[in-house]
């Protein structure tokens, strides 16, 4: 096990080297110059040349890259070039990261809380109308484009709707269900988190439901479930203790892998709802060619990915005794 972990950790620097090299090259040689974004229409060739020189952008690529790596190894990931001029990239990410992680955690909890029971029911009632309905809803959830859900859901929940039933001569209004959708970000304990988290959780719900359904179907056809039933156990016990535990093992794996995605925000959602997270930072950085930010984010995601994989492999054994003791 130790050797396995070590091997994985040794692979990390190699991965980081290649990723950083590629992103750095895209930043340096890619089109669009951050200084040009900074200077906008008032770009003065003299100014551009001076800034390039002072930033060291006129140096050969390998020197620039080495400088970057040297600084990065000392914990200095550069300074924002355009978007938050002169702010240390590390500090910017440190501000955005908790927001995104919190939002993603809420989304994952929503996804688990909705997806697992739905998958459980669908799996238990395989091929019944309720199974069909659940699968339909779940697939609809991931089929609705975010760019469509954003405006429609905000419209639905954040304003007053006057309902008129002319036939019955009825007229009433439903006030905004989520008035807190607007205003600035207040952390995950404000109502503002609900819509973005819900939209982000749709994909997770789909994954969880599908996995849980397939898992339940598979597990329920296992011999040991029949054994459990033959013991006269309550169906509840059979499902909760015998079936669900086995069906949840792959769910745990997926969850572990999702932990790697915690650090990446959905910029479509964050942008629309004004969530000051990583997604928005990445979006702004990409558009502004603020490539030190982009690079740091890319490296962060890579590290998170490697570690989440490692953690999954290690904890997998804890969940499944077959692997634990093997």
């Amino acid at each position: 096990m130790t050797a396995f972990i070590l091997r994985r950790l040794l692979w990390l620097p190699v991965l980081l080297f290649f990723i950083s090299l590629i992103t750095f090259a895209l930043g340096v040689y890619g089109p669009g110059d951050p200084l040009q974004v900074l200077l906008g229409l008032r770009a003065n060739p003299e100014t551009i040349e001076r800034l390039r020189r002072e930033y060291g952008f006129d140096q050969p690529f390998h020197i620039q890259y080495l400088n970057y790596v040297t600084n990065a190894l000392q914990g200095n990931f550069g300074y924002s070039l355009v978007k938050y001029r002169d702010q240390p990239v590390g500090a910017l990410i440190a501000q955005a990261l908790p927001v995104t992680i919190q939002l993603n955690l809420v989304a994952i909890f929503l996804g688990l809380g909705i997806g697992v029971p739905l998958g459980l029911i669908a799996g238990l009632k395989r091929d019944s109308w309720i199974d069909l309905l659940i699968r339909g809803i779940v697939i609809a959830g991931i089929s609705l484009p975010i760019i469509f859900l954003n405006p429609v859901l905000t419209f639905l929940f954040s304003r007053r709707h006057d309902l008129v039933f002319a036939a019955a001569n009825l007229k009433f209004s439903i006030g905004p269900i989520l008035p807190m959708v607007q205003g600035y970000w207040d952390g995950i304990f404000s109502a503002k988190v609900i819509l973005p988290a819900f939209i982000e959780s749709l994909g997770i719900i789909a994954v969880m439901t599908r996995q849980m359904r397939a898992g339940m179907i598979e597990v329920l056809s296992e011999d040991y479930i029949r054994t459990a039933r033959a013991k006269g156990l309550r169906e509840r016990t059979v499902i909760l203790r015998h079936a669900m535990r086995n069906a949840l093992i792959p769910i745990a794996t997926i969850l572990g892998l999702m932990m790697g995605g915690l650090v990446a925000g959905s910029f479509l959602v964050e942008n629309w709802f004004g969530v000051p997270g990583v997604g928005q930072l990445a979006f702004d950085a990409l558009f502004a060619r603020d490539y030190y930010i982009t690079m740091a984010l890319v490296l962060l995601i890579a590290v998170a990915y490697v570690f989440s994989n490692l953690v999954v492999d290690i904890t997998y054994g804890l969940l499944d005794p077959r692997i634990r003791k093997a």
């Binding site: 296992e222 011999d223 040991y224 054994t227 033959a230 006269g232 156990l233 005794p321 077959r322």
Partner: protein, 330 residues
């Protein structure tokens, strides 16, 4: 001895995308207390399904018990509510399955799996159940039972797991043990050990046993009576001695012919039955064995024979059992 279990005209169907599979087609038999009944037939003949139907363990849907009665201690197990059938399962009737490798839950300890039935049916506390579980493991011959009680199934060998299964089945001292090919997945020496254990425990505990197998050789040393099944029908039913000494159904005859016998090994070659069982979705209206039968006539194609008495306590479902007996004697 009184009757423990009486099955009358049991029919089980599976509703699949391809059509209705008629797995069990009006099986009737009875079992006395302490009796050992062998249930014999090829794979897919409905022997397992009929027993799963008795315990109502058929997956529903797609399965469905279409009709019939399963009388057990004065109750019709087909009709009782879920709560009641559960109080029977594992308590009065227990079951041991074919593949010990997959029949134990991989993520629960042996203790949990044995104890849960004890706690449920006998109302034991955790400690009592654990003590009893250790006793049971000792009873089925698992060495160092105390040390192994908290192990997981994958830490046991196949034979040991089957012992655990038996211990689990016997935990509540059932009146009836249904053993669904418990030795098929094991190698020969282990098979013998398991059979010995079951024999010994039957002597000690006195429960009735229904032993399902496709291997007449296994059943010969075990059963008091044997039911032969084919395509969802019981086609012959007789005592152990009678069946082996006086088989009346062509299919039974074929089965007996396919057992390698030490004394006959040199003289006659093995004669497996040619052909395949009928399509259970589109059942032939006549005798199900028609296609493969050496004695078939026009009548066999059109009418399905019912069980009739062919000898003392010996029932057979064949239009031509008399011919079979004659031919066999020649």
């Amino acid at each position: 001895m009184g009757t423990l279990l009486e099955v009358k005209d049991l029919r089980t169907e599976f509703h699949t995308q391809d059509g209705v599979v008629h797995a069990v087609n009006g099986v009737s038999f009875h079992l006395d207390e302490g009796e050992t009944l062998g249930l014999v037939g090829e794979s897919g003949c409905g022997k397992s399904v009929s027993m799963l139907s008795v315990m109502r363990l058929i997956p529903m849907p797609p399965g469905k018990i279409a009709s019939g009665q399963v009388m057990f201690q004065g109750r019709d197990l087909v009709k009782v509510d879920d709560e009641e059938i559960r109080s029977v399962r594992g308590n009065k009737i227990a079951m041991v399955f074919q593949d010990p490798m997959t029949s134990l839950n991989p993520v629960l300890t042996i203790n949990t799996q044995i104890s849960e039935a004890l706690e449920l049916h006998l109302g034991m506390t955790k400690e009592q159940a654990r003590k009893r579980a250790i006793e049971l493991l000792k009873m089925v011959g698992i060495p160092e039972a105390e040390g192994r009680i908290d192990d997981y199934p994958h830490q046991f060998s196949g034979g040991m797991r089957q012992r655990v299964m038996i211990a689990m089945a016997l935990s509540c001292s059932p009146q009836l043990l249904i053993a669904d090919e418990p030795t098929t997945a094991l190698d020969v020496t282990i098979q013998a050990q398991i059979i010995d254990i079951v024999k010994r425990l039957k002597r000690e505990l006195g429960m009735a046993i229904i032993w399902i197998t496709h291997d007449l050789g296994v059943i010969a040393g075990l059963a008091d009576r044997i039911n032969v099944m084919y395509a969802g029908f019981v086609i012959e039913s007789a005592s152990n001695k009678e069946l082996f000494g006086n088989p009346l159904h062509p299919y039974t005859l074929g089965l007996l012919g396919s057992i390698p016998r030490l004394d006959a090994a040199l003289k006659s070659k093995l004669t497996p039955i040619e052909g395949l069982p009928p399509d259970l979705i589109e059942m032939p209206k006549g005798c199900p064995f028609y296609d493969r039968c050496r004695y078939r006539t026009e009548k066999c194609a059109n009418e399905n024979p019912a069980l009739e008495l062919g000898a003392v306590r010996h029932w057979v479902a064949c239009w031509h059992w008399q011919d079979v007996r004659k031919l066999r004697k020649q």
